[in-house]
C-alpha cells in the first residue's frame, strides 16, 4: 500500500487532471476513493443510506465542477472534499445557508501569521494530523470524533457521555491544542 503522504499527493494530481483536462479516468479514480468515504461520513452523521448516496453523488459532481478551485497549497484533497460535503449537507439536508468569511471582503482583517494557514493543510501535513490524533488520550479523541460525526450540540454530547458540558469543552480544547502543537512542532 502507498504511504499516505504519497496517496495524498496522488489524489491532488487527480484533481489537477480533472481541472486541466476534464480527465474522466482521473475523476473515476477520485470517485472510487472518495464516493464511499463521503457516503460513510454522511451516514455516520445520521443520514439514511439513500440520502447519503444521493448527497455523495452530488458532492462528487461538485468536485468535478469546482476542480479548478482546488488549491493544493492550501488544503489536502480530503479536507477540500470534507468542506464540500459539509456545505452540501447544510444546503440540501438542513436547507440553511452557511455564512462564511469572504476572502475578497474589504472588511477582512489581514493575516498576521501566514504560516499556520499556508502550511497546515497540505497533503503531507494531513498525515501528521492523523498521527497526532492517534496519540490523543482516548477520552479526548472521543469528544473530538463525536464533535465531527454527531450533528448535535456539545451539551447533548455531554449528556450522552454523562459528563459536564465544561468537561466536553476542556477535553476539546486540550485535544485541538495538542493536534495543533504536534503538527506545528514537526513543521518548525
Amino acid at each position: 500500500m502507498m504511504s499516505v503522504a504519497v496517496e495524498g499527493e496522488a489524489l491532488a494530481e487527480l484533481v489537477r487532471a480533472v481541472a486541466e483536462r476534464q480527465d474522466q479516468t482521473a475523476f473515476v479514480a477520485l470517485f472510487e476513493y472518495f464516493g464511499p468515504r463521503v457516503k460513510g461520513f454522511l451516514m455516520r452523521q445520521g443520514a439514511i443510506e439513500s440520502e447519503a448516496e444521493d448527497l455523495a453523488q452530488d458532492v462528487m459532481l461538485t468536485v468535478w465542477r469546482k476542480a479548478a478551485q482546488f488549491d493544493p497549497g492550501k488544503a489536502a484533497v480530503s479536507t477540500w472534499i470534507f468542506t464540500i460535503a459539509r456545505n452540501r449537507r447544510i444546503d440540501v439536508l438542513r436547507r440553511e445557508r452557511r455564512p462564511e468569511p469572504d476572502a475578497e471582503d474589504p472588511m477582512l482583517v489581514g493575516e498576521p501569521e501566514p504560516s499556520a494557514e499556508a502550511h497546515m493543510a497540505t497533503a503531507q501535513v494531513q498525515v501528521r494530523i492523523r498521527d497526532a490524533m492517534a496519540t490523543l488520550p482516548p477520552e479526548q479523541a472521543e469528544v473530538l470524533t463525536l464533535s465531527f460525526y454527531e450533528d448535535i450540540p456539545h451539551s447533548e454530547i455531554a449528556e450522552r457521555l454523562g459528563i459536564p458540558l465544561g468537561t466536553v469543552k476542556s477535553r476539546l480544547r486540550l485535544a485541538f491544542r495538542k493536534v495543533r502543537a504536534l503538527v506545528g512542532e514537526e513543521l518548525a
Binding site: 480533472v18 469546482k66 479536507t79 470534507f82 449537507r89 451539551s155
Partner: protein, 228 residues
C-alpha cells in the same frame, strides 16, 4: 484594533464541522472576518475533518453510482482559485456605510444592506433591535442590537448557547469589556447584563441557540417585544 475575546475551541470546531445553525454560524463568520487567528484555527479544524474523512469506514456506493459520469458537464473555469475555507459568494456588494459610518463584514451583508434604511424595533429605552432572520421557532436566532451609551440590555438568561459580536462601540458585562470584533460566548444558565460603556452607540450582533428567557418583571414584559 485587537480582538481580545475569541470563540472557544469547541465553538470553532462545531463551526468547522458544520454543526452550528445558520444564526450562530453568522456570528462566528462575523468574528472570523475580523480575526485572522481564529480563521487559521478553523482551517486547522477543517484539516482534522479531512483526516476523519480519510479514516471513516467507507460505505460502498450503489451499483449504478458511476452513471453520474453521464451528468458531467464542463467544469467551471478556474479563475484565481478561492480557498476552501472562504467559499466565494456571488459578487458581494461593496461595503456600504451605515448610519455611523460602520461598515458591515461580508457575512452580515447577506442579511442586511443598509442599517439606516432597516426597520429597527424599539426594545427598551435606548435599545433597538433588528431581526436578521425570520425563523420558525426552535431554530437559532440572530439579531442586531443598538444600545445607546450608558444603557443596559435587559438582564436575561438563556437555555442554549448565546453569542455576541461587537461591531461598533463597546460593552461590559461580568466577563469583561468587549470591543469591535470581540466575541462573547455564554453557555446556558448564565445571566448577564451587558452595559454599553463607551461614548458612542454600541452596535452588536447577538445570536442564540434557543429562546432567551428573561428574569425580573420588566424584562418579562420586554421579552415578547424582543421576540426571543
Amino acid at each position: 484594533m485587537t480582538v481580545k475575546h475569541h470563540p472557544s475551541e469547541a465553538l470553532l470546531i462545531a463551526y468547522a464541522a458544520g454543526h452550528l445553525g445558520e444564526g450562530l454560524s453568522l456570528l462566528v463568520a462575523t468574528h472570523l472576518t475580523l480575526c485572522p487567528h481564529c480563521r487559521a484555527a478553523v482551517a486547522e479544524a477543517e484539516a482534522v475533518g479531512g483526516a476523519m474523512m480519510d479514516t471513516v469506514a467507507p460505505v460502498a456506493m450503489g451499483a449504478d453510482a458511476l452513471s453520474v459520469l453521464g451528468r458531467l458537464d464542463r467544469p467551471e473555469a478556474g479563475a484565481g482559485a478561492p480557498p476552501p475555507v472562504t467559499r466565494r459568494r456571488p459578487a458581494s456588494s461593496p461595503a456600504r456605510a451605515a448610519p455611523q459610518g460602520i461598515a458591515l463584514p461580508a457575512p452580515l451583508r447577506g442579511y442586511v444592506q443598509d442599517l439606516s434604511a432597516a426597520r429597527w424595533q424599539w426594545v427598551s429605552p435606548g435599545v433597538r433591535q433588528l431581526d436578521l432572520m425570520h425563523r420558525p421557532k426552535g431554530r437559532d436566532t440572530a439579531k442586531l442590537l443598538r444600545i445607546a451609551p450608558g444603557r443596559v440590555l435587559p438582564e436575561h438568561g438563556h437555555t442554549g448557547l448565546e453569542l455576541t459580536v461587537v461591531l461598533q462601540g463597546s460593552f461590559t458585562d461580568e466577563q469583561g469589556r468587549f470591543t469591535r470584533g470581540d466575541l462573547a460566548e455564554l453557555d446556558s444558565d448564565v445571566n448577564h447584563q451587558p452595559i454599553a460603556d463607551s461614548g458612542e452607540e454600541c452596535i452588536c450582533i447577538i445570536g442564540t441557540e434557543a429562546p432567551l428567557r428573561f428574569s425580573g418583571l420588566v424584562p418579562r414584559m420586554v421579552a415578547p417585544m424582543l421576540g426571543f
